[in-house]
């Protein structure tokens, strides 16, 4: 249901959504669950059977409660679209997710700030994944080219016995601005968590990524993966932490940062720790540069250098 008074705003969001690589049809189809939030206004909220979306507009954003009912298997991805079209503003999303036991859902979130000059986007999420439930979460950002944006996504996720949490956070279109990403997951018995972050920093982008996985149940598994490419004077600090606290817990931290040019600064801090003798946690972190020959390969076909680097970075972050 779309509120008449905000139809124009909604159209603006849909256009921006498409520009950011989103599939516009998904927001227009009837039997797809979706939520569209502009600033602190809910423009569309279409739940479907098995999935409830409760919203409450606040002064600076929206508070969202997403409930996947027990045993519900949502056939098509749920689309969330958050954004701010003006140059300035604040958007705070408070998100509570309750995926009940044995449910299954895939959520695609697009965060769109195409004109941001002085924008803050905050997300505070409290997420509970029920026993044997499965939750796929993909968040893609589009920021425009000015870099005047601060993005602060924070999530605390609890994955109960046999549950699966998989998330990908991608920010490779437009300037990052300032990013402070902080996701923390607790896995109980045989639960699985996979955190992936892909970011392309340019200009004076300032990137902080913090992924934490606590493997607290026997046989729990975790992967904290990050791919960061930096150009110009961008900086990034990536922390990947995994704690093996139970027997047969298996974790891995995998961080690759690539630097293009001489002024960007990349730091990687992998922390792995084991408090149970039968747990095993490993890590690999590499900081390198973009392969010159790859860039020249594309330049020799007529692409200019920036475009060639973009194509290669897209491949790495795909």
């Amino acid at each position: 249901m779309i509120r008449y008074s905000v139809e124009k705003e909604y159209q603006g969001m849909i256009d921006a959504y498409e520009m950011a690589g989103g599939d516009k049809r998904a927001l227009q189809t009837k039997d797809v669950a979706k939520l569209v939030v502009h600033e602190n206004r809910v423009l569309a909220n279409d739940p479907i059977k098995g999935l409830k979306i409760e919203t409450k507009e606040t002064k600076s954003g929206v508070s969202v409660k997403l409930i996947v009912e027990e045993g519900a298997k949502i056939p098509r991805p749920v689309h969330l679209c958050f954004g701010l079209l003006p140059k300035e503003g604040l958007q705070e999303i408070i998100m509570k997710v309750d995926a009940k036991d044995n449910s299954e859902v895939s959520v695609i979130a697009h965060c769109i700030f195409p004109n941001a000059v002085k924008v803050i986007h905050k997300m505070d999420a409290d997420i509970n994944i029920g026993a044997n439930a499965r939750f796929d979460y993909k968040e893609t950002h589009y920021h425009g080219e000015s870099g005047g944006i601060e993005v602060i996504p924070k999530a605390k996720v609890k994955v109960n016995k046999g549950g699966v949490w998989q998330s990908t956070f991608a920010l490779s279109q437009g300037m990052v601005g300032k990013l402070d990403y902080d996701f923390e997951v607790v896995c109980l018995e045989k639960a699985i968590a996979e955190l992936t972050v892909k970011v392309y920093g340019k200009g004076t982008d300032d990137i902080k990524i913090w992924e934490k996985i606590h493997l607290n149940g026997a046989g729990a598994r975790g992967l904290a993966k990050s791919r960061v490419v930096l150009g110009d004077k961008a900086r990034a600090e990536v922390r990947g932490e995994t704690y093996g606290n139970a027997p047969y817990a298996r974790g891995h931290v995998d961080c690759i940062e690539l630097v293009n040019g001489t002024e960007a600064v990349a730091t990687a801090i992998p922390i792995v720790s084991v408090t149970n003798g039968k747990a095993k946690v490993t890590h690999e972190a590499a900081i390198g540069s973009i392969d010159r020959k790859q860039v020249e390969t594309l330049m020799a076909r007529g692409l200019d250098e920036d475009r060639a680097v973009d194509v290669i970075v897209k491949g790495i972050l795909r």
């Binding site: 010159r292 790859q294 594309l298 020799a300 076909r301 007529g302 060639a308 194509v311 897209k314 790495i316």
Partner: protein, 241 residues
């Protein structure tokens, strides 16, 4: 079309290219024959502007303009391209996208055609990445297909035959001749006399300089008799050009 004059390159005090002169006509397939280490890949890099090579002295003139100061992209935009002896692998870039990037602007050719020309089944390859999962020969053939897709004015092919099996070699040579018929001049670098058969002229490279240029059959024979048995590896024989 391409006129290289008195080209020199010194790297870390070693003289790699020594006063090299080379002339490629419009519409010509010009073979360069040379043993390992004679400077074949170095010339390819100097003409394309890759690998950060800048001539220590000399001129590289393409269609009347000295291009030695241009970037790789600018040279490519003028119509020059290079197929690497060992092409780069790019994670996350599909064959389809790679060929499409190479495709000459505004050209509606089907990408499938270029793969078929080098003997690869399009349905099997278009959606694969040009990453390390391709075999060496497959990657080389895709490199050739991407040059075909570009329809360059001048294609520099650095050992297009290396890693190619005997079944695929005739296909590959055919594709070069076809490209030539469509208007591309070709600098065909190789150490195989068999490959130079499709050239109009062949130059022999030794110690970073051209020591002989002539018709393919005769020049290849001279190469076989002299270079293959040459004990002065990379010391030019005393022979008038």
């Amino acid at each position: 079309m391409l006129e290289v004059q008195n080209l020199q390159l010194t790297l870390n005090g070693n003289s790699i290219i020594n006063g090299l002169d080379l002339h490629v006509d419009r519409g010509e397939i010009h073979g360069i024959l040379g043993e390992n280490g004679t400077g074949k890949t170095t010339i390819a890099n100097l003409i394309m502007g890759t690998n950060n090579y800048k001539p220590t002295a000399g001129k590289i003139i393409f269609e009347g303009q000295d291009i030695a100061g241009l970037s790789v992209s600018q040279r490519a935009q003028k119509g020059i391209t290079l197929a690497w002896q060992e092409p780069a692998r790019v994670e996350g870039l599909t064959v389809r996208d790679y060929l499409a990037l190479s495709r000459h602007n505004g050209q509606a050719d089907q990408l499938e055609r270029f793969l078929l020309m080098v003997g690869l089944e399009p349905a099997q390859y278009l959606d694969r990445d040009i990453d390390a999962t391709l075999s060496g020969g497959e990657r080389k053939r895709i490199e050739m297909a991407s040059v075909l897709a570009m329809r360059p004015k001048l294609a520099i092919l650095d050992e297009p035959d290396s890693g190619i099996d005997i079944v695929a070699l005739p296909l590959l040579l055919n594709s070069i001749m076809e490209m030539n018929k469509q208007g591309s001049s070709v600098l065909l670098i190789t150490h195989s006399e068999r490959v130079t058969e499709i050239s109009h002229r062949v130059s022999i490279l030794c110690a970073g300089t051209i020591i002989r240029t002539g018709p393919p059959a005769e020049t290849s024979l001279w190469f076989k008799d002299n270079c293959r048995t040459c004990l002065h590896i990379n010391e030019p024989v005393d022979e008038p050009k």
